[in-house]
């Protein structure tokens, strides 16, 4: 009888060791694979200000997409001759927005989202307003910086 329980507890211990070994072995394989699949973070120069274009390039009642670091930005010359700039990534599902001169609005073609010229989401699916940037004119050059 004693021998029996000895044997079964020994078997249990061996099963645990074996099972634990398999789990540890799987973990040792999967961990590096999962880490490998995560792309390394690219060190990027922090961009806080960028030249978005020139005054001649963007006539009244039009817009332009510019590069702000690795993000697209949109520069708008409003019908009442004001300058505005926003992050151009739609807050819905990440498409790049455009200026619609027929509506005087910012519009996303992907899911028909509308923003007003303050960047506020006014209709369609976008859940949040666009992030606004500061615009500074220096002669003919237009500089955009994070607020």
């Amino acid at each position: 009888m004693r021998e029996n329980t000895d044997q079964s507890s020994r078997r249990k211990a061996l099963n645990w060791l074996l099972g634990g070994g398999v789990v540890a072995w799987l973990g040792a394989i999967l961990y590096p694979v999962v880490r490998y699949l995560q792309p390394p973070e690219m060190p990027e120069a922090v961009v806080s200000s960028v030249k978005a274009g020139t005054v001649d390039e963007v006539p009244v009642d039009s817009g332009k997409i510019f590069k702000f670091g690795n993000q697209p930005g949109i520069l708008i010359h409003t019908p009442d001759d004001q300058w505005r700039a926003f992050n151009a990534v739609c807050t819905h599902l990440g498409c790049i927005v455009q200026y619609r001169d027929d509506l005087d609005q910012i519009w996303c073609a992907c899911h028909n989202g509308h923003y007003d010229l303050q960047g506020r989401n006014i209709s369609g699916p976008p859940p949040r307003p666009l992030e606004e940037y500061d615009v500074n004119l220096q002669g003919n050059d237009i500089y955009v910086s994070k607020t």
Partner: protein, 363 residues
């Protein structure tokens, strides 16, 4: 002359093989196999059509690989080269694209016919589940392949499609990074999608397809509800009668495919530029249209949640229930058809058709 020398080459080859492998078991199985004949027998062919189109995908896909180069600065150029310089390059690509679309369509027809005839009922639950996995993989094939030419339309479709993955709670960011190879859709995304499309998905697809076909062979074709499985009124031998009919239909499909590919060649469009606005009229492949259109109609917020979260969660739950339908449907097991499930199926079909049409008409 001894009888040994009288044997033809064919007979000698057969004998040689038979001494080593149990060929007679395979031929015996094919000879005995019967396909039940009902007025709905036509639906039995759509799985075969899907299989045929998949085989075309494999062949044309390998051909495309000889010229395609991945990478944000090469992919578009290599496809343009393929389409303008390589002899019949346009045709191979056009067939690959058309065949992909027809394959998804055939798979949908196959799936709905199985659903409405309740062919998924006991004992074929896992044939349904493996079939659904194959359909999901086919959609993943379509989604990943769409990006490979690196054109404007595909770029934004991928941006939206992967952004949806990012909506998933907790694991969203992790999966987004995994799919895109970074926070944005870039050349890194293209490399990954290429890997998925030509290595990972084909590998998994082939294994599940083998299991799916094995199930079908082991259990035979399903019979309509209420019909006696053991002794159906009328049957047709699988070989050669059903196989020949299958082949004839494959030939017709091949002709339709060739006509579509030649007269409506697939366009390449504009090269993707991560720093331009999404063009008006942007849309995904037609089989994602009903979901895309639904997301357009959802308001920014539903209760406390963002609209797209509700939409994505809704489609996720509906898809899961759909996969589990053989286990949820208690009536068909007893030989009765659930009216409710028929109506649900009809509503889904109508919803998909109406939303798809709206998607195309409104854009």
């Amino acid at each position: 002359m001894s009888p040994k020398h009288d044997a033809t080459l064919k007979e000698r080859t057969t004998r040689w093989m038979q001494e080593r492998y149990p060929l007679d078991k395979v031929t015996g199985f094919a000879e005995k196999k019967q396909v039940p004949l009902y007025h709905g027998t036509i639906w039995y062919y759509f799985g075969g059509v899907t299989l045929f189109l998949f085989l075309i995908q494999v062949v044309t896909g390998i051909l495309l690989l000889f010229y395609y180069r991945t990478g944000a600065d090469q992919a578009y150029e290599s496809v343009r080269f393929l389409m303008t310089e390589v002899q019949f390059g346009w045709l191979i690509r056009s067939i690959h694209s058309w065949s992909a679309n027809l394959m998804v369509f055939a798979a949908f027809v196959h799936m709905f016919s199985v659903y409405f005839t309740r062919a998924y009922r006991k004992p074929r639950e896992f044939t349904w589940v493996t079939g659904m996995l194959l359909l999901l993989l086919a959609l993943a094939f379509g989604f990943s392949g769409y990006l490979l030419p690196w054109n404007q339309l595909a770029f934004f479709a991928t941006k939206v499609g992967t952004d949806i993955v990012g909506v998933v709670p907790v694991a969203g960011d992790f999966m987004l990074n995994l799919l895109r190879g970074g926070p944005n859709v870039t050349g890194a995304t293209l490399s990954r999608f290429f890997g998925f499309h030509i290595a990972l998905f084909p590998g998994i697809f082939t294994i599940i397809l083998a299991v799916h076909l094995l199930f079908v062979q082991v259990q035979g074709m399903s019979h309509p509800l209420g019909a006696e499985e053991q002794a159906p009124d009328k049957t047709m031998p699988f070989f050669p009668n059903f196989v020949l009919r299958d082949l004839l239909l494959w030939l017709i499909v091949l002709n339709v495919l060739a006509l579509l590919a030649v007269f409506f060649p697939w366009e390449l469009g504009q090269k993707a530029d991560p720093f331009t606005s999404a063009p008006a009229g942007i849309r995904p492949e037609w089989y994602f249209m009903f979901m895309f259109q639904t997301l357009k109609f959802l308001p920014a917020h539903i209760l406390a949640l963002e609209g797209e979260v509700v939409g994505v969660a809704g489609f996720g739950i509906a898809g899961l229930l759909w996969i589990l339908v053989p286990f949820l449907d208690r009536k068909s097991e007893k030989g009765r058809k659930s009216r409710k499930l028929t109506y649900i199926g009809l509503v889904i079909v109508i919803y998909i058709i109406v939303m798809t049409i709206i998607g195309y008409v409104l854009s």
